[in-house]
């Protein structure tokens, strides 16, 4: 689970996050939306332990950031725009590399399971350079779940994917979330967020401006609220 309390982040003198409060319960799938520049990626990077908060408290699975960053990293899986994969290595070599970084046990078996889960077992010995964007993104998810994390962070994972690849990704996201994980996903896609997430939130001007369960929330209503807040 993720607990964010009064999170503030300034870059030099420029405030980006101005006191964000957000909780993602165990097994919950929360979509984080908002206009460009609202601070969504910054928020994600702080939870991912890549950037330090200026003020406020962030806790992942009851580990405080930045003090217990290593403990947090062990239970965290992150998928962003960058696939974090090495084009000159094969799919299997990429997974093996990350498996070693995370000290994953029974690595060879785990790699095989993951490749099957993301549907890339047939391409295991192919260089990632030869993958399409959709395949690379799927492998990236494989990389992120390799060490069986409890918490997953997604930064607009559907970027650059066609319909078919997006649909495949949705299936994958659902199965990943179904395994009892806490998921926080940044997205610009209103209908998709309503479909995948348990809750939607809107970040505007550095604060959480809207937070609602998706059950019984119609697309029309949500779109209206979004357009109002995203000014």
């Amino acid at each position: 689970m993720i607990e964010i309390h009064n999170l503030t982040k300034n870059f030099g003198m420029k405030p980006v996050l101005r006191g964000v409060d957000l909780t993602v319960e165990r097994g919950e799938f929360v979509a984080l939306m908002g206009p460009n520049g609202a601070g969504k990626t910054t928020l994600l990077r702080i939870v991912a332990s890549l950037t330090r908060p200026t003020l406020g408290r962030v806790r992942v699975n009851s580990f405080d950031l930045p003090a217990h960053a290593d403990s947090v990293r062990r239970v965290l899986g992150v998928v962003s725009h960058h696939t974090l994969l090495y084009g000159d290595l094969t799919a299997e070599e990429n997974l093996r590399f990350y498996g070693q970084l995370y000290s994953v046990e029974n690595l060879s078996k785990r790699i095989e399971d993951v490749l099957n889960q993301v549907g890339l077992i047939k391409r295991r010995h192919d260089l990632v350079r030869s993958f399409s964007r959709g395949m690379a993104q799927r492998l990236s998810i494989g990389r992120a779940v390799l060490h069986s994390p409890d918490v997953m962070l997604f930064d607009e994972p559907h970027t650059g994917l066609d319909q078919e690849a997006s649909a495949m990704l949705d299936k994958l996201l659902k199965s990943v979330a179904a395994q009892g994980r806490s998921v926080l996903m940044i997205s610009h896609d209103l209908p998709r967020s309503l479909q995948l997430a348990d809750r939607v939130t809107i970040l505007s001007h550095g604060k959480i401006a809207y937070d609602s369960p998706t059950k019984n929330l119609s697309l029309a209503d949500f779109a209206k609220t979004y357009n109002e807040l995203a000014q």
Partner: protein
């Protein structure tokens, strides 16, 4: 934070100017003509203090760097950059005065002796420090990187000096002469002048450092106000 010059600094300004005038009098009229090197020796009174104070400046940067990394307080970083700039000014003064001193005495502008060579490398490290900072936009990163390079640079200087010294001891330079070989006769009035000039330069160092530090602080404050205004 004061927006006008604090009283102690105003006093230092006056003291610096007064001491400068007095030093001119001492150096050119009070101190006698040196037996071996003649009139050119008078540069020594300005050359030596600016040289060792530029080292002190570098040391201040080292301490400021370590302190910044420990505390994340930007005031230490401002002290660090102020000290580097003042240090560069003093170092260039020392080098130029050294060259003016060497020319009439040894008939050469430059020797590759250990102190001078290490000094030049020191200056290059200073310049690299400034260039490093200029290439970084994020103020936190700039302060962190500056601190690290200040530490690495400072630590390298003694080792560099020692290795060049060793080299020149085993293989003396074919041209130019070692500074320390030249003797200088020291009379009491010369010693007094020398001590006075050292104190003058120390006062000057603190004054300049303080001014530069305040400049940096005020610049930061203006930035902060501008940010606040544009975010309001």
């Amino acid at each position: 934070m004061h927006s006008s010059t604090p009283k102690p600094l105003k006093i230092l300004n006056i003291i610096s100017i007064l001491m400068f005038i007095v030093s001119l009098g001492l150096v050119f009229f009070y101190a006698p003509r040196e037996a071996v090197m003649g009139e050119a020796q008078r540069i020594f009174y300005y050359h030596v203090p600016s040289a060792w104070l530029s080292f002190v400046a570098f040391g201040v940067t080292l301490i400021a760097g370590i302190a910044y990394l420990r505390t994340n307080d930007h005031r230490w970083d401002r002290l660090g950059i102020a000290s580097v700039e003042v240090g560069i000014v003093f170092a260039v003064m020392a080098l130029l005065s050294g060259m003016l001193w060497a020319r009439p005495i040894w008939n050469t502008w430059w020797t590759w002796d250990p102190r001078l060579t290490t000094y030049t490398i020191l200056l290059l490290i200073y310049f690299a420090y400034l260039m490093l900072r200029q290439g970084i936009e994020d103020p936190d990163k700039r302060a962190r990187f500056g601190s690290v390079y200040g530490i690495v640079g400072f630590i390298s200087v003694p080792i560099t000096y020692f290795s060049i010294y060793l080299w020149r001891t085993i293989h003396p330079a074919v041209f130019g002469r070692n500074e320390s070989e030249t003797k200088m006769s020291m009379e009491p009035q010369m010693l007094q002048t020398f001590i006075f000039c050292n104190i003058f330069f120390m006062v000057l160092f603190v004054t300049l450092l303080w001014h530069r530090f305040r400049l940096e602080s005020n610049t930061a404050r203006v930035e902060e106000l501008r940010m606040r205004a544009s975010n309001a």
